[in-house]
Symmetry: C2
């Protein structure tokens, strides 16, 4: 059994405040910390000494001092602690190791097993975490815990996956408790869109944006004034039913006709490709076959196929209508896109989206932009790990971890 | 010229904190305040004495003490200060006087003059404020300022109304500066939906809800964890273009076919009534005639007319689809409805909305509810006055007032 987090018992609140200030502004000096925290100089020195001894921070090379003695920059010591981030998408299972300086140290990417039942999935994740830690060669005692990002709806407080439409065999699965039992590690469960927005917020300097998550499903989250909104039941972001094209073709599909999910999720795009004669219908209950067919569609478009290009261009314009709804409602200056299918869609989407969204906006905005995530396809897993690190290292720990 | 606010220079931050605590929890005792503020007992006593001397708070009747000396409840003294709230709707002009204890002391309700130009409107508002203050018989020196709620889009920071589709003659109107020049009072300008959500938050105990504003236009705002979201450019809430019925009839109208505005604003409902043969088409550029025709439609429905009832029932079901979009996206547990047309729509809407919205929800919620505002039709004007009181009395004053 792995053990976690005890080494990092931070002693007191001030220590957590100082570590958080260094995390948020790497290279800060003791004098900076004193100014920003309001703590006494001697207190800062003592805390810095303890954090250096615990290998949580280290001194970096000083720059040239303008006058007098150069101040020594303090940075988080990545090797001081780690979190595992897991992302369960119906087609993709991502497991990565993030250090407390925000670097991905190692990662595993598996196709999500077919017709998964929750017990098998828990066992697979537990085994994979062991493998990840072994391969990365880190000290297990420095593992803070595991964050899992899953499709909603879920009960974050009890750590239960309720009944995600994308995981039909999953009903009221106590994933957090089960994975805690299987690994002995603290475990946190959160929604894929919330984890993704957290990762984007950590990586970018941006404090106000809408995050559009594109995976086997479509979702959104909102960062406002540097805070990730999560919704009253932590289930923010169900946007798949938003009507984006009243004239949309009938996909003979479970999702809402003319809705945002029907416009852009792999299953719906594959049906459109089949209707256009581009491919034969795969078994749509097989998420891997659907995902492969979706890849084929995007490759056809990249290769210049007119029908495939038409489908993805139309998808981008429909997504723009949906984004317009959200931007008009919440008045956000920037939209960031990411998630498991984003890399395959970006070539078709990025040239179209910004202008198409602008045409939907009621309030004209000079500064409005639509951009790709700076984090990449692993974003939900990385965000799940970020949430664990925040839990243990931020001054106000959440109550959402089992440990 | 009226003078404002100088009498209320609060001396220091602690004094503002204490006054805010009493405003938020009327009847709180000095011992409570000490516990909640962390200030020393003697500091609390001194501040309470100064606030009583300034007539901003007063001592209320003590209840029975469980043991020992009964504690004396402190409450805000309504007569200590006032704010004027103005709401400019294309059909209705509301001007009211709110005291710092949250009571409406006096109000004027005018039909908004036809084909208003901004200069005439400013003059009318200035004259009306003078009349309001005279009729209420309050001391002008206790007037904090004027808050104006208007349809968006607007530039809250500069106090400029940009180009509201509902006020076609208004383009880049410096309403805040003009009204300040005309009255000599501090003036704050904000969006109708933001003001409404602020009033609802102040009046109800609720800290998480979506506010749906129904007036000549339709808008929404969000309160999350006791904070009113305003959007990056303070223009939150443009929801009129959300598609709610792909099969909707063509209204030959400026709004989006099948959109939320086409489903529920007076102009669109009057066109539907005309199409159903219920009335002859009024001059739709005349907001008062349109508003009167809308009133006729709602009276017909209340009187049992089947066609009128059908139109309003259909409107409720379409509005439910729009609410569903917003609730699914932001995961809010409660929806509150209000605004200038709400009283005329509530009889048809309330019996239908909650169940109809529930059918739209992706995440099932036991506690979900759709309710009428506790504030009533004057909500936007009252919220505009609340924003002024908050500006002057809350510890963190906004920078959005000209004074």
């Amino acid at each position: 059994m792995l053990r976690g987090s005890n080494l990092l018992s931070l002693g007191n609140y001030n220590q957590a405040v100082i570590l958080d200030l260094i995390r948020r502004k790497p290279g800060t000096s003791r004098a900076d910390l004193q100014r920003r925290s309001g703590l006494a100089s001697q207190t800062i020195s003592n805390i810095a000494r303890r954090l250096i001894d615990a290998e949580m921070i280290r001194e970096s090379e000083p720059g040239d001092a303008v006058r007098g003695r150069p101040s020594i920059p303090l940075v988080v010591n990545g090797g001081g602690g780690f979190a595992v981030g897991v992302h369960i998408d119906p087609a993709h299972l991502t497991i990565l190791l993030l250090d407390i300086a925000g670097e991905v140290r190692h990662r595993l990417h598996l196709r999500t097993p077919q017709a998964t039942n929750p017990g098998e999935m828990t066992a697979l994740i537990a085994v994979s975490i062991g493998r990840l830690v072994r391969e990365a060669g880190i000290d297990r005692d420095r593992l803070l815990g595991v964050g899992i990002a899953v499709p909603g709806p879920l009960d974050v407080r009890t750590g239960v996956v309720l009944d995600p439409p994308q995981l039909p065999k999953w009903r009221d699965v106590r994933l957090r408790a089960d994975l805690h039992d299987a690994t002995g590690l603290p475990v946190l469960l959160d929604k894929d869109v919330t984890a993704s927005a957290t990762a984007e917020l950590r990586k970018s300097a941006d404090s106000d944006f809408l995050f559009l998550y594109l995976g086997s499903g479509v979702g959104a989250s909102v960062v406002t004034q540097g805070q990730v909104l999560r919704g009253a039941s932590n289930n923010i972001g169900e946007i798949g039913d938003i009507l984006v094209d009243p004239t949309a073709e009938d996909l003979h599909w479970s999702g809402r006709r003319g809705g945002l999910a029907a416009a852009c999720v792999p299953e719906a795009l594959v049906i459109q490709a089949v209707q256009a004669g581009l491919m034969v219908l795969p078994d749509l209950t097989d998420y891997l076959a659907t995902d492969d067919a979706f890849t084929t569609l995007t490759e056809l478009a990249a290769g210049g196929d007119a029908k495939a290009s038409f489908i993805l261009d139309r998808a981008a314009r429909r997504v723009a209508v949906g984004i317009g709804v959200l931007v008009n409602f919440l008045d956000v200056p920037r939209v960031v896109l990411g998630g498991p299918t984003w890399n395959r869609l970006s070539a078709a989407f990025l040239p179209v989206l910004e202008d198409a969204v602008r045409r939907e906006l009621v309030v004209s905005r000079e500064a409005f932009s639509v951009v790709a995530s700076t984090v990449g396809e692993l974003i939900a897993a990385q965000g799940a790990a970020d949430l664990v690190i925040d839990h243990f290292l931020a001054p106000h720990a959440s109550v959402l971890v089992i440990d």
